[in-house]
Symmetry: C2
Subunit: 601 residues, 2 copies
């Protein structure tokens, strides 16, 4: 193992000889630009090697960077392996300082009443005649405001008072608890973070709590992926071995620490601390982040350890530079605080006619405002939309077909990054199936009409047929890119899970899809689909496409609203308490709907 120091963040991680810098940066949770996912295609993951031993430049690097850059120390993270201790710099152009739209979302605005406010206080000095403890001197200077003190504040209070010549700035958590004391007037700086812990991605936004402005946002892979891509593998790991639970906790908090550090450095707050964080996530991520045992989440009836909100000092969680962290309530074992944040961000609970929110992922959270109450469920949609179990499926990155339209034998498509295609993103799979249905090439049970197109052929792998989207001569790999009946079967299972969840909630409310006046589609996958095609294959209810709002990452936006507004925290508590959870596996309607929903369209 060798030390790798990542400048300008001064993050130190261990790497093994032979390991790619790309993987080391990922593991460290340092966000950096890449469009091809580390395949040496996009040339975006540029680093500068400051010192240390790495493998020599590859031909591909010289082609993508040019000899001049390579000679001056530039390398591509995906092409460079360490051979010992290395110190490197992530240059400005490689940093992910700006927000990718997929990792922020639409949100309503809220009155600014942040979770931490600052207050400047002039404190009366103690004397031999009146030798008050510092905390009592401070309280006596507050004109009767009643505050208590966190131990961190008590630790630094004496020094701050004396360094600040008895003028200090308090950071006050939730209107009642002093969590920080700084010498002098530091009221202009009041930083907070919103954190969305997804199974796949961790997103952090840095926020100025005085103004409500977002200062930056970054994301990184959830490093718990070493215990498995999906929630089930991670639950199993935590059950089998209590150390895995603690390890997963450390991994994700370590990543948040590193993301925060990069945000602070990139926003010019290198030496600052964060006053507050709001962390949302699905219930498993929520438990793992807190180090809470997950045995209740692993077996039916899938209940969390607790559903209520929680407040903790960041230090107690290993979040080194965050004073206090608020965890909004979760709703159920598979409806987490991320779904609650979605609702808060779009204001679903405020609609007075029926409206729906769908946050599509490997688990899809569905919330229905019936016009009178909120119903929520979780549908096990699986990884098909992210390319899982789809032969040429892939995530939406360079080389992925993003959209497709098919008329008979004519296929038109667009590729992310403008390169030759190597696979297709979930959105393109939906497009393809919708077009194939419209063209009469595919029937609603998911089988090809074998003579409907010369692109339809028997699969080389088994007793099913496939449609050739891109022939080898056009593709980036030389291979044909196809959509098979087997792929479509996976898609059908995924979309049936979601559609039958929606139908079950509607039936519980005695509504039909036609009564829906708004459909919010949340999440980064949801942001990339074409709603008419999603409706065409039956993924979304068949409503006027103008009623569908693609709102992006509303989980992070909801978390941010709670950071910035006590009113939003209070609303979220009300919503969580009032939301009715519908357990699909216990619903009399679900099985019937699921079977029907397997039909395409």
């Amino acid at each position: 193992m060798a030390d790798v120091v990542i400048e300008p963040y001064n993050i130190r991680v261990s790497g093994e000889a032979g390991e790619r810098l790309y993987d080391i940066l990922k593991r460290a949770g340092v966000p950096f630009r890449t469009e091809c996912g580390g395949r040496g295609l996009c040339g975006k993951c540029r680093l500068i090697i400051r010192s240390g031993n790495v493998t020599p430049p590859t031909e591909r690097e010289i082609r993508l960077l040019g000899e001049d850059l390579v000679e001056s120390g530039y390398r591509l993270a995906c092409q460079t392996r360490i051979q010992g201790a290395v110190r490197l710099l992530v240059p400005l152009e490689t940093r992910v300082g700006s927000l990718s739209v997929a990792y922020s979302g639409l949100a309503r605005s809220a009155p600014l009443s942040p979770i931490v406010r600052k207050r400047l206080v002039d404190v009366q000095q103690p004397s031999l005649e009146k030798p008050l403890a510092d905390a009592d001197s401070l309280l006596a200077s507050l004109n009767g405001e009643r505050l208590d003190f966190g131990v961190e504040a008590l630790r630094e209070l004496p020094r701050a008072l004396r360094r600040g010549s008895w003028r200090v700035t308090l950071s006050i958590w939730r209107g009642s608890r002093v969590i920080r004391v700084e010498p002098g007037d530091t009221t202009p700086e009041n930083l907070g973070i919103a954190v969305d812990v997804g199974t796949t991605k961790v997103v952090v936004h840095l926020v100025d709590m005085n103004t409500g402005r977002t200062l930056g946002g970054v994301f990184s892979e959830n490093p718990q992926v070493v215990y498995g891509d999906d929630i089930i593998s991670r639950l199993r790991a935590a059950l089998d071995n209590p150390k895995a639970l603690e390890d997963m906790r450390r991994l994700v908090t370590g990543t948040v620490n590193n993301l925060v550090r990069t945000l602070l450095v990139d926003s010019g707050f290198a030496s600052s601390e964060i006053n507050a964080g709001v962390v949302v996530g699905n219930t498993v991520m929520h438990h793992l982040f807190l180090g809470v045992d997950v045995s209740g989440l692993s077996f039916s009836p899938f209940v969390p350890s607790f559903a209520r909100p929680l407040e903790l000092p960041g230090a107690s969680l290993g979040l080194e530079s965050v004073r206090m962290v608020y965890f909004p309530p979760v709703v159920a074992g598979y409806v987490g605080s991320d779904a609650l944040a979605d609702v808060i961000a779009v204001g679903l609970h405020l609609e007075d006619s029926p409206s729906l929110l769908v946050d599509i992922g490997t688990n899809t959270e569905i919330v229905l405002n019936t016009g009178k109450e909120l119903l929520a469920c979780s549908a096990p949609s699986g990884p098909a939309f992210e390319g899982g179990h789809i032969k040429y499926g892939m995530k939406a990155m360079t080389g992925a077909i993003a959209s497709v339209s098919i008329e008979g034998d004519v296929v038109q498509y667009s590729v992310i990054g403008g390169v030759k295609p190597i696979g297709l993103a979930g959105s393109a799979l939906i497009d393809a199936v919708a077009s194939l249905l419209d063209s009469g090439i595919l029937n609603e049970r998911g089988f090809f009409n074998r003579d409907s197109s010369r692109r339809v052929r028997k699969s080389g792998e088994g007793e099913w047929y496939e449609y050739v989207l891109v022939y080898g001569e056009e593709s980036g790999t030389g291979e044909d890119i196809t959509v098979s009946e087997k792929d479509i079967s996976e898609l059908r299972l995924a979309k049936a899970a979601i559609a039958s969840g929606v139908r079950t909630l509607l039936e519980h409310a005695g509504l039909d899809a036609g009564s829906l006046e708004k459909i919010y589609v949340a999440g980064s996958f949801g942001y990339s689909i074409r709603p008419e095609n999603a409706a065409r294959i039956g993924l979304l209810p068949d409503v006027d496409p103008s009623l569908v709002k693609q709102v992006g990452n509303t989980a992070i936006e909801g978390a941010k609203l709670m950071l910035l507004s006590e009113d939003m925290i209070a609303e979220a508590l009300r919503v969580a308490r009032e939301m009715k959870y519908v357990e699909l596996s216990a619903s009399p309607y679900f099985r019937r709907h699921f079977a029907k929903s397997l039909r395409l369209g």
Copy 2:
């Protein structure tokens, strides 16, 4: 640096090659028997070397242990130096399992209402129809009792419920907060610790909170001694370098961890956790234990950061196996929670006629119950009573003269351990001065009447005289053991600080010493003195000796009372609020009394 593993506690520390096991054990905070302070005299610090390289046995060891024992692996810690990694066993006879009277004290009894109580609960299982979160299922099973949950309890709740087949034992902190959940019925075991953090010594008692029984008590040197013997050096270290503060915090909590581990192992609770701790100490020790900045304590007017009580999870302090810790309030910069515990233990506040408590140390806390109110002050008595600045002064250990009486040229004395004397303990110094006064050999200004005894002679070191207590032929070192005018001058300063503190409090109350109906003398030094001699030299008010109660370590006893009784916690809060602190340096009476008190008797 090499690893030293200390069995049976499985404590692991680093030692340097050449370092004595004696010093390594001290540093680790592992209590062990020694009477001579590591000078190879008493033969008590026996260890068994299990494996590893150490220096060969010395002649002294072979003499003290015998060849048989040495051959079977026994060594003396003070004679053995490590030469690499070592695994050793502290054998039963070397363990300090029983209470030395000096480290416990007298205390009144209190109704048992411990700071943590246990409760067995049968919990209704959740179902698909009613998928309640575990915490909500638990609350629903409590017949309306309102409890909240610490995060540690939430972490283990799901597993405990399922392992215990929905029967669990709650540990409830202060009647309202669940801090621990264990599967099945564990109500019989409910452990707590009382901790007295002194500048010199750390004392820990293990308590069964169900019965109030003390299961064991151990003590160790306060390892902060590496930053200086006295409070002033430690304050200076913490001020100069913030890392020193953190380091001192870690040192002392590490020692408490090790003491707790030895107590648990020695009491047969090897795998247990501690539900609660109550920690008392002088205000500087209190701040250092909590990692609180000490700048307010370092400069006049010497104020603490805060005076109120504090409750914290042990984990947040690095107390690995202690769930929650209660820190009683401190009274002032130099009257800590140890003095408050003294008052609680003896019930000073309950007396309805004038009574006094004096806890003698390098700072001496004095509390006067005037019959109507409590006055407290702190007197800077210095280290003379522990042998500091006294030529032949030493702590009360093997070889120290413990008591003396002198008539003319005839000196009678007793020596701790029954060996030849090598110095004199503080108690003997008081005895000697009292006898010398009575014999007319010494006058009240601290000077010898030069021709009053043939043992009086001019000191070889300067312009002062000395009295030969023990001639070289009788002493353990071959040197004469003397008491000089210079030594007596140090003693006068120390006793004057205490006496003038007492007089100042009495004058504030408009009382004179004759009105005192009880004098409690607390602390281990106070336990060893002869009250009539302490009164003779003017250290204690001149009252009927039967009014003087030597009560030992009442600080640890007061801490224990708070662990065992919410009533005692409430009483202590009241006492702390009502006690009036008198700052001696601001008192108009103090200077006058100090000058007068320099006279002996």
